[in-house]
Symmetry: C2
Subunit: 216 residues, 2 copies
């Protein structure tokens, strides 16, 4: 049912407009949130608004991997125990957090800041692909300075499995493969615990083609 | 699955804390919203935070009906075409907006600001019941000054049909019935278009007891 809007106050309407501009929050939820905030102590609302404003105003991005950071170098890049020659390329900050939560990865990251998407007007130059190429190039010359070859560097393309992700992976591959490094991508297949019966055909097909040796 | 939290930045964590303090927004959604805001132009984020802060800082409540308002008297109370002797008592601002949206009501309102709920620590003195009684008393003496009697005043108790709503209605009834005014409550029954088969027993029972004359 359409929700007619007769706001009793312009202030309320402005707040609802602002809150409903957030993704996934409709005007009805925005009204509920605005009325909730109205009932809170003034300090709480100021704490809320200043936390949001400070995030936008003061956030930094790691100079190396473009991850959100409080310093110029993020905690991951500045962690000496991590393998700085293995670079996992992801679309967003959230992907870094997801992979970190697995506890399975000990390399570093490179945050693209998006994915190539002509429909959304996002081209390669809007992403940090140039920075990635420079970073890889720098690593390779550093290695050759130590007498090692480029195969000591690995770039993992950890992008989504849809067309845009594949396009972006392919584009990046063409930009960095000339350095002679190893380039890999995430394994695709059935999820852990997935039922064959309910798997989609593409995933199941890939799972068969890319079958792995059984380690009993 | 539990979502482990390794925030790459204290600013981000503070913003997620703040956003997830809103009702119905979990930490995962809050992170999504925080990252969305990070991608927006600074002006947009400032517009968002200032709209929210201004709402809390500058909002007024109508002196007569306690509705949110930009002025000391709300647009409904100051509208001469509305019947100021019919007062619809509601729990919240949202209820006023809902009833206004029906276009079926031409009286005025009284916003309680909540409902009596011992579990949530809300007692009668936390609500605007005293103000309602004073308002009714004032209306009645105004009428008697014009030689009319108190039955020209009607208070509609438009509270929810649960135990807390009923308790609050009963409490208010006891406070205002002594003025000799008319007190009514919302009709309860099957919703428009409801199927008998799926109606709950209490609603169906009330619908039968309070059956209305059929106007063919």
């Amino acid at each position: 049912m359409a929700y007619k809007e007769n706001y009793p106050s312009a202030l309320l309407e402005d707040a609802v407009d602002a809150i409903s501009s957030l993704p996934g929050i409709g005007r009805r939820s925005a009204l509920r949130l605005a009325l909730h905030l109205l009932k809170q102590p003034v300090e709480n609302v100021h704490h809320f608004t200043s936390a949001v404003a400070r995030l936008r105003d003061e956030v930094k991005y790691c100079r190396t991997c473009m991850m959100i950071s409080d310093e110029d170098t993020c905690t991951i890049c500045s962690d000496r125990s991590r393998d700085s020659r293995t670079i996992c390329v992801v679309e967003s900050v959230r992907d870094v957090m997801s992979i970190e939560n697995t506890g399975q990865y000990h390399g570093v990251y490179h945050v693209l800041g998006g994915i190539i998407s002509p429909i959304n007007g996002v081209g390669p130059s809007d992403l940090t692909i140039r920075e990635l190429a420079a970073r890889v190039s720098g690593l390779v010359s550093e290695l050759s300075g130590c007498g090692e070859d480029a195969s000591g560097v690995e770039v993992i393309l950890a992008l989504s499995g849809d067309v845009e992700g594949e396009t972006t992976s392919f584009y990046i591959y063409r930009q960095i493969s000339r350095f002679g490094i190893r380039v890999s991508s995430l394994a695709r297949g059935l999820g852990f615990g997935d039922d064959l019966e309910y798997a989609d055909e593409l995933t199941l097909g890939r799972s068969i083609v890319n079958r792995q040796e059984f380690k009993g």
